[in-house]
């Protein structure tokens, strides 16, 4: 059983609070992704789980047993680093054999294991080479090989793909995810790239300023963000936000030259939200029309960016800029007046003061 749990984890560097009473469970055999902007605490959390840092407060458990005081080399976890951390003075073979040698395994066993692992990762031809002779992708595989060669109970990955070029990154994402499923090892994965997080995670944990903002399945976090930060961080291009006031009598959200009736499922918002409500809607949930529809809103084209498979439009509406995605054939010119139709089910409302999502009725 290799479920990992942290309880009330706090880490202070002097006066800076890197982690603020974080409690989290990393389910057995699941790939949990910690995602967030730089400085949100995700790497600190990972390093504390690894044992490379000590927490100021809080505990770490693995398989039900407390391991907060266990040294990293005794935790039976493997780590893949952002810059691979391959030992430059050793061959690929020696790099991968190192963890086994540390455990004083027999030579024949080491030989067999390394060969097998290298083969499965497609680096068996490189065993005699030194790290400086390898490409980025090859180094990354060797790093993964070094982590898997001894069948640890937990994988820790600290932005392993960040140093690869974009194309390679997309390829390796799929491979890593597949590998994790095949091996069935509990994995904690840290990244700042939300796309990577979305594609890889069984469970997504969004962090900011040392606190967990939201955790859940990727689809759930995407569809039901708990606050504006999560809403804007997950999903690309980011969710659009329009600051509105709520007109109680008309049951409508209002902004400069903008009026949008309150979506049904919100029932009736009381006067508590009268000062302001943030309307959030993702670019992919906006339809751009040339004629007005039932709940449409006026807008003017600001700039159009063709991406090949779609067009990314920036539009002026309600005194602010908003992005929408249209089909590539749709040609619009700057300054053109259009109408926007929001997918009502995908309109999110957030409180303007707390930035938290307003719950549906």
């Amino acid at each position: 059983m290799a479920e990992v749990r942290v309880e009330n984890l706090t880490k202070k560097f002097g006066n800076v609070v890197a982690l603020d009473h974080v409690s989290l469970t990393f389910e057995d055999q699941e790939l949990t992704v910690l995602v967030g902007p730089s400085g949100c605490g995700k790497t600190t959390l990972l390093r504390i789980v690894a044992g490379l840092e000590e927490s100021t407060e809080g505990y770490v458990y693995m398989g039900g047993k407390e391991i907060s005081n266990v040294q990293p080399w005794n935790r039976n976890m493997a780590m893949v680093f952002q810059n691979y951390a391959l030992y430059p003075h050793m061959t690929v073979f020696d790099n991968m054999a190192f963890p086994l040698r540390a455990r004083k395994m027999r030579k024949e066993y080491i030989l067999k294991q390394v060969q097998q692992t290298a083969q499965s990762l497609g680096v068996d031809q490189l065993l005699r080479r030194k790290p400086r002779e390898l490409s980025g992708g090859q180094m990354q595989r060797v790093a993964v090989g070094r982590a898997t060669v001894r069948q640890p109970e937990v994988f820790l990955m600290d932005e392993p793909l960040s140093n690869l070029d974009a194309k390679l990154r997309v390829e390796m994402r799929a491979e890593l995810k597949r590998l994790q499923k095949d091996l069935g090892v509990t994995t904690i994965y840290v990244t700042h790239d939300q796309a990577e997080a979305m594609t890889m995670a069984d469970k997504l944990v969004v962090m900011r300023d040392g606190k967990i903002q939201q955790e859940g399945a990727p689809e759930e976090v995407y569809a039901k963000p708990r606050n504006t930060f999560v809403a804007s961080f997950i999903g690309s291009p980011a969710m659009n936000f329009i600051k509105c006031t709520y007109n109680v009598e008309r049951r409508a959200l209002e902004a400069p030259s903008f009026q949008y009736p309150l979506p049904e499922r919100y029932g009736a918002l009381g006067h508590s939200h009268q000062d302001g409500v943030i309307l959030g809607v993702r670019p992919e949930k906006i339809r751009v029309l040339l004629t007005s529809g039932e709940r449409s809103v006026r807008a003017r084209v600001y700039v159009s960016e063709p991406l090949g498979k779609e067009n990314l439009l920036t539009l002026e509406v309600a005194g602010t800029l908003v992005k929408a995605i249209t089909a590539p054939e749709c040609r619009l010119s700057i300054g053109q007046d259009v109408w926007l139709d929001f997918d009502e089910e995908s309109v999110h409302l957030f409180d303007v003061d707390t930035t938290e999502a307003i719950s549906v009725a």
Partner: protein
Amino acid sequence: MRVHLSERRLAVLLLIPAAILLIVFYYYPIVQTLIFSVFDLDHTTDWLHAPFVGLGNYIEVLKSAQFWLSMRFTLYFTVLAVFLEFWLGLGMAMATFWVTPKLRGLLRTLIIIPWAIPQVIQASMWKWLFNADMGLIGDILVRLGIVSKSPLFLVDPALAVHSVIAAYIWKTSCVTAIFLMGGLAMVPQHLIDAAKMDGARAWMRFWKITLPLIKPTILVVLLFRVGDGLRVFDIVYGLTGGGPGTMTDTLSSFAYKFYFRFVQFGLGSAYAVVTFILVFSIALYYIRKVYPHFTFRG
């Protein structure tokens, strides 16, 4: 094209002052000493009017028992000193990485202080420490019961050699420590982290990861320490004057006596040249081994 020319011209211009200084005070004297060494210069440096003796001085040097004594001492000194100062220095360097951060600054300051002390002044200090009647070292040994009477550190033939070495490494182990600190600082932390995660305990991390990675630094350090050991002068001159007799004369101090005590410029130069050859071969080895690794822009 104009840009390139002025850059190259600038380059030459910038180098010239330094080059002149080095030629006047290093390369010209070396050549001149070589010239001196093939003449018989008794109480004079006017080689233009002095008898030419060819290799005569050198033959005399190689026949001199004193020369071989000082050669032997120099080599023994260098080997033992470098060995001791390396391990002491390595220990101190590792200590600076091991201790708690608050103590690190203090430790470094402690280590750096002996380095700052000129060798000759250090010699005077140790002369007093080794003083047979009132020296601290002797007193401690007596108090600890190791000896019954304070030994004659600087006079007893068996001890003098090692007293000089001890005084020398007091300072140079700190120098070595500082250089090794630099090398250790170059070991990337993430490699140590990776080793920890791979299951390596402290001992294994040291031998398999840290040590191999500072090998280049160690090589450079050793080369410089050996070079320094071979040309040592100050501490010998200040501590024992070469005594007892000429037991603690190194090549440099012995040659110096010929220059300025016996005023034999020809013979002294021959001695100096022999020393030079020894040290120069170290320098050559350094150049062959280390220089290929340098890369510069342009």
